[in-house]
């Protein structure tokens, strides 16, 4: 055929391959730099917060003091308590709802336009900016339902926010269970409810848990929607304790209490012009980032183990 063969031009071909492979090496280097840049960012971010917040991070007062006008005295106590209580509400509202929705979509929902609408909604909600949830909560929970800017409002708002995360993770976990397991249960006379409750949910519990952890980690760090509903930044009291030593032991007054949470406290310190408050902000940031990294890390590791361990065959 036409041109001279590769063999006759072997030296030219080799030179050409060498040139082409040089680009491989250059790109390999550039790619590695980009990856390192990403990884280093995470490291720098964390180290920066720890270094800046160092004086506060290891002082016991920081965790037992209320906010104060003096940076040296200001502490995290009300934010720690607030975050814990809000997370409790978020957990209680989002997990049953999200898991229930996922079970419905995977096990019960017929393939029709109605289900399609629900699916589109879940996908869409996952991409709605978090501050929009804040506006929703402001209009719905704070004013229409008159919950005020309370722990209940904040917990429900964050619950709605992480609902898609829980739904998606649960569905993925449920989908991994083969039909054969369900058929085996049906074959011995189980009802659909029993198949779902005793088999599907049980076997996918690990996957559901990873989704719940990732969702909760997101809720802990979320700031914008909680600001929007009017969280206070200066709380020098603690809400009524949910449990007490006298009957009836449990009360729900704390739900309507005003509150602050960790990221709000950090934001408020960060917004002060005085840089002495920035130390407090850094320490709060280090704690938030540590908690979320830990939770996400555990969830990712769990998911990896589940994928590796369970082979339905």
């Amino acid at each position: 055929m036409g041109t001279a063969s590769t063999l006759e031009n072997i030296d030219a071909v080799r030179a050409m391959i060498k040139r082409a492979k040089l680009k491989d090496h250059i790109f390999g280097l550039v790619g590695l730099v980009c990856i390192m840049l990403i990884l280093l960012t995470l490291l720098i971010l964390f180290v920066d917060l720890v270094v800046d917040g160092y004086p506060k991070l290891f002082s016991a007062d920081f965790y037992s003091n209320f906010p104060s006008r003096r940076a040296a005295k200001a502490g995290l106590l009300s934010a720690l308590v607030g975050s814990s209580l809000v997370m409790l509400v978020t957990f209680v509202s989002a997990v049953p709802m999200g898991v229930g929705a996922a079970i419905y979509l995977e096990e019960y929902a017929p393939k029709n336009w109605f289900t399609e609408i629900i699916e589109v909604n879940v996908t869409n909600l996952a991409a709605v900016p978090s501050i929009i949830y804040g506006l929703l909560a402001l209009g719905l929970f704070v004013y229409t339902l008159d919950f005020g800017n309370s722990i209940l409002t904040a917990g429900l708002t964050l619950g709605l926010l992480i609902l898609p995360v829980v739904i998606v993770a649960t569905r993925e976990a449920i989908r991994a269970i083969p039909i054969a397991i369900r058929e085996a249960a049906y074959a011995v006379g189980a009802t659909k409810g029993q198949v779902v409750g005793q088999h599907v949910v049980r076997y996918s519990a690990g996957g559901i848990l990873t989704g719940v952890i990732i969702g909760m980690a997101r809720a802990i760090g979320e700031t914008a929607p909680v600001i929007t509903i009017g969280a206070l930044t200066f709380i020098a009291f603690l809400p009524e304790s949910p449990v007490s030593s006298t009957p009836p032991f449990i009360n729900f007054e704390w739900l309507t209490s005003g509150f602050t949470v960790l990221p709000i406290q950090m934001f408020s310190w960060l917004s002060r012009p005085s840089s002495s408050f920035h130390v407090n902000a850094a320490a709060a940031g280090a704690i938030i980032i540590l908690v979320t990294l830990l939770m996400n890390g555990i969830a990712i590791k769990m998911r990896y183990n589940i994928r590796k361990k369970i082979k339905w065959q």
Binding site: G2, T3, V13, I17, K21
Partner: protein, 259 residues
Amino acid sequence: MANADLTTKAEARDFNFFYSNGHHALKNINLPLYENKITALIGPSGCGKSTLLRSFNRMHDLYPGNRYEGEIVMHPDNTNILDANVDPIEVRMRISMVFQKPNPFPKSIFENVAYGLRVRGEKNKRLLADKVEEALKGAALWDEVKDRLQDLAFNLSGGQQQRLCIARALATDPEIMLFDEPTSALDPIATANIEELMNDLRGKLTMLVVTHNMQQAARVSDYTAYMYLGDLIEHDKTGDIFIKPKDKRTEDYITGRIS
């Protein structure tokens, strides 16, 4: 074997292959490919015929941990293409390959055929156009696509896509062409077209064809090698293998006792 007027284009010598999981897939293979002849590799699934074929252009290098032992030598330059100093890219520029399933690139018909030349740094538009036309004619596809060279290759039928892949392989003037079950994903008419095309190329190009279909081996090849469990059992002229196999195992396979 009467091979007085035959030149050996390439040959495997005491060739062994190990997959990364330790599986010893090919054992002491000795196989010549004669110049401008078609050699067919037959054998039951898992016998190593595709593994052997893919060793000829070092496709196994794409996956870490695979290991070659022994030699595959190309003539006339006597290069052992498995040698660590030989760049697999150089090998692939001399030996092209057609795959089991048509795998056109998400590009136009023209760009698919021109791809090998572009990789070789060819920029001359006139030359590219000439080579693409020549290759498409060589693959018996030119008349069907000459008016829509800029169409996306995915719009072609399966059989046309496979002929496009043959054109893509032809465009770079390879010394050897490898066909890995080239018709197994095609309907009978498209299969007949590809076989006819291979017949047209006979005598112009050295070819190695893996096929699952014994009739196909009988129809298109000059030489046939029968493989079983990683061993090369028998290699001879196609007519001889099918009419009077020397080995019992070959006979069993050809008569349908092993499948």
